[in-house]
């Protein structure tokens, strides 16, 4: 009986570890091969503080949590600039270094021998020794970590994490600081692993490096992925299956290492088969029964430009909304922007036209801060935004769309728009845990707002669908709704009409006109001159990083000098 209770305890510990990793990997999209290293550091912290500092149980747990949280926070910084395989390798290297130090820093960790004699915890006057006695404590730990992770994962904060996972650049473009969220999710993940670490150390009363090696990290990653990333229930299922079930094999009359090998063989094969046939895991992210984000009741009839949100500081109605002066940027000798100045008149649609390679998208990148200008200034509603990070300029009221749309593919249409709304209390840990009612109310209001944006582009009925399943034209409309949801008053649209058939082009142009009529300032980069004449009030003609003409589109097209540039000089 003790044996099975032990198995349950191990499942509980792995639920904690799995959940901590799922937040990081499944929600945040940050693949870490170092979770066992964090687990180990926390365990050693608890063990050493108990043995050397004589701290009693609950305090050692706190030490474990604090140490792992801090370590995770520190690791975030080198991890910030690396993605994909580089991040996997970086965390792998970190894992190996920590493991190597555990083995060889004998003065601190006693190396291979490990640390034994970790004191048993005393709770409510009872000393916990047997698995049965530990069970309530571990169960409580599992419940608490699950609840914390669940609260975070299924909240507006979780929504931003998922957006970051799907597309970091687009997340910046809707006004969220990717850096902050990465630090946050690393720290939370570390802290939750620390809970498991502290409990583990006291439960086993003995730790050595071999519980915290690369194999363990790989096992955790596989557990989370097979269980189902982005779904914490999947992690529970994974823990039960992959930790619990192999224990059944012990009843096979075989040698321990053969049993382990059989378990690993099955595990590895499952991993390969799942990646081929069911990459979303046992319990997928959008499993049936998770219709929370679906559209239960249709939003009240919303029409007209009055419902368009407007965030950012209030401003008077005079003067151009956005002014750029003398912007300069070169890429290895090529002048992408050369003393470029422009002004976007408020409430009007301005177009940037010019031949290929004239630098039009570069201008957008410079205006929004995605590229740093070497010289020049950009002023939004009179305020200098030249040195601001892109996510900050969005908060102040300037936002851009992307030529390749960049929706958050694995999220629903509604979530794509919801995540763009500014100032959501549920995106911060404090209000999320300590002001739940305010958070819930804000979420309700935001949901209506998001539905309003979707209604504006005519896609309310698609709100519950996953973004990647939409046709490209519909995706462009969702991207527009997402842009509107940011509340920005100045909207930069990069090739809004490209890649779609005529009917979509007309719809998009109509929406652009409505936006301008509602007082938004719109600037478009366009190659389709028919579109430009149809929708733009004002146009800038660019060539080789400079603006060489401006005026109404018809005026520009009547200028033979510009025709020479656009179509090539006449041959003599």
């Amino acid at each position: 009986m003790d044996f099975w209770l032990h198995v349950v305890n191990m499942i509980g510990l792995f639920i904690m570890l799995g959940v901590s990793l799922n937040l990081l990997l499944g929600y945040g999209g940050l693949v870490s091969m170092a979770q066992a290293a964090f687990f180990g550091v926390g365990a050693y912290a608890a063990a050493l503080s108990a043995r050397d500092l004589g701290l009693p149980f609950p305090l050692t747990l706190v030490v474990a949590i604090v140490v792992t949280t801090l370590l995770a926070g520190v690791v975030t910084f080198p991890a910030l600039r690396v993605r994909g395989e580089y991040l996997i390798l970086l965390t792998l290297a970190f894992q190996m270094v920590i493991y190597g130090l555990m083995l060889s820093w004998v003065d601190l960790t006693a190396g291979r021998t490990g640390i034994s004699g970790i004191p048993r915890p005393r709770l409510f006057g009872k000393t916990l020794v047997t698995p049965a006695e530990f069970l309530p404590l571990i169960a409580a730990g599992a419940l608490v970590t699950f609840a914390i992770a669940y609260r975070i994962g299924e909240s507006p904060l979780g929504r931003v994490l998922k957006a970051m996972r799907d597309d970091e650049t687009a997340t910046l473009a809707i006004g969220k600081s990717v850096l902050r969220y990465k630090v946050l999710v690393f720290c939370v993940s570390g802290g939750l692993a620390g809970v498991a670490a502290g409990l583990f150390a006291h439960y086993q009363a003995f730790i050595n490096p071999f519980s915290f090696n690369l194999d363990r990290s790989i096992f955790l990653v596989a557990l989370v992925v097979l269980g189902g990333t982005g779904n914490l229930l999947g992690t529970v299922a994974g823990a039960i299956l992959f930790v619990g079930l192999p224990e059944v094999l012990r009843f096979l009359q075989a040698r321990q290492d053969i049993v382990d090998a059989i378990r690993n063989l099955v595990f590895g094969l499952l991993l390969v088969l799942f990646m081929r046939f069911r990459p979303e895991g046992l319990v997928p992210e959008h499993a049936r029964g998770r219709r929370r984000q679906g559209v239960g009741q249709p939003a009240p009839a919303l029409s007209g430009p009055g419902i368009l949100p407007s965030a950012g500081p209030a401003h008077d109605g005079a003067g151009p909304a956005l002014v750029a002066q003398g912007l300069r940027k070169s890429f290895g000798g090529i002048k992408a922007a050369d003393e470029l100045s422009l002004a976007l008149p408020r409430g009007k649609v301005t177009a940037l036209v010019g031949p290929n390679g004239a630098g039009k998208t570069t201008v957008f990148n410079l205006l929004t801060g995605f590229l740093a200008a070497e010289a020049g200034t950009v002023a939004l509603q009179g305020e200098d935004i030249t040195r601001l990070a892109p996510w900050r300029t969005v908060r102040l009221g300037l936002a851009r769309s992307f030529q390749d749309v960049r929706l958050f593919e694995r999220m629903t249409v509604l979530d794509n728009v919801l995540v763009a709304l500014p100032q959501q209390p549920g995106e911060r840990l404090g209000p999320l845990f300590f002001a739940p009612r305010r958070t819930a109310e804000a979420e309700r209001r935001n949901r209506d707002q998001a539905l309003g944006s979707l209604a504006f582009v005519g896609l309310v009925d698609r709100a519950g669908e996953i973004a990647s399943s939409l046709a490209f034209g519909e995706q462009k409309l969702v991207a527009l709704a997402r842009l509107i949801a940011t509340g920005a008053d100045v909207l930069l649209l990069d090739e809004p009409s490209s890649g779609v058939d005529l009917q979509w082009v007309r719809r998009i142009l109509d929406l652009i006109r409505q936006l301008a009529a509602a007082g938004k300032t719109v600037c478009i980069v366009e190659h389709n001159l028919e579109v430009v004449t149809a929708v733009a009030d004002h146009a800038y003609f660019m060539e080789a990083g400079r603006i060489i003409a401006e005026g109404r589109p018809e005026e520009l097209m009547a200028d033979p000098r510009l025709a020479d540039i656009y179509f090539g000089k006449a041959r003599r």
Binding site: N356, V505, G568
Partner: protein, 234 residues
């Protein structure tokens, strides 16, 4: 029978359809220009003809044979050669290596050697820079190299995607002249995507114009050139 006959071409990337049904033909010995605004589907159409993108629907017949399902390597062997718009040379390899690769599909090394002589004579700057890494060449020289690579395999139909992109006006003239001369002397047929409309019209016998994934105009080069400006077509 046309050397190239494309009917109802529809294609795109992943879920994004770019071309919605294009019919065009190129007769042997012609230079045909394919023009239109950025994003109209010109490059996508060329890539589909070359086999780099799958046909979503429609057919491509080259010299009497349907090649719509053939691999790009098979199309190259039949004599169809694409010089892409960007990344049209192997930047980390030498000019000499690039030219050798241009002749990869040529089975007989003697023929490849003879072509190399012709190409180096035609484009002497490549001979000078044989040992240089292609990525260190100037823009114009890289364009020449891209063209030379395609010529190495004696194509019957040359698909050129914006050969003058990013070049100074003088170089643009030179490239266009080179193309016209090669076409004339080697009985080469050319389908050319060009943004420099006037230069394209100077060498093309016929012109197609695309907008938003469809063809809107087919006309002779002379008639197009006589217009003088084309704002309403782009």
């Amino acid at each position: 029978m046309s050397l190239l006959a494309v009917e109802g071409l529809a294609t795109g990337y992943a879920r994004k359809q770019i071309v919605f049904g294009v019919d065009l033909r190129v007769e042997a010995g012609e230079i045909v220009a394919l023009m239109g605004h950025n994003g109209a589907g010109k490059t996508t159409s060329l890539k589909a003809i070359a086999g780099l993108l799958p046909l979503w629907s429609g057919g491509i017949v080259f010299d009497g044979e349907s090649i719509g399902q053939a691999s790009s390597a098979a199309r190259v062997r039949r004599g169809l050669s694409l010089v892409p718009q960007e990344r049209f040379v192997f930047a980390d390899l030498t000019v000499a290596d690039n030219l050798e690769l241009g002749a990869f599909s040529v089975a007989d090394p003697k023929i490849a050697a003879a072509q190399r002589e012709k190409v180096l004579t035609l484009l002497p700057v490549l001979a000078e820079r044989r040992r240089q890494l292609a990525g260190t060449l100037s823009g114009g020289e890289q364009r020449m190299l891209g063209l030379g690579m395609a010529l190495m395999r004696r194509p019957r139909l040359l698909l050129l995607d914006e050969p003058s992109l990013g070049l100074a006006p003088l170089l643009v003239e030179r490239i266009m002249e080179t193309i016209r001369d090669i076409a004339r002397h080697d009985h080469l047929t050319v389908l050319l995507v060009e943004q420099n409309v006037r230069h394209a019209l100077a060498i093309a016998q016929r012109v197609y114009i695309m907008r938003t994934g469809r063809l809107i105009v087919e006309e002779t080069g002379a008639v197009m050139a006589a217009r003088g400006e084309w704002w309403d077509l782009f």
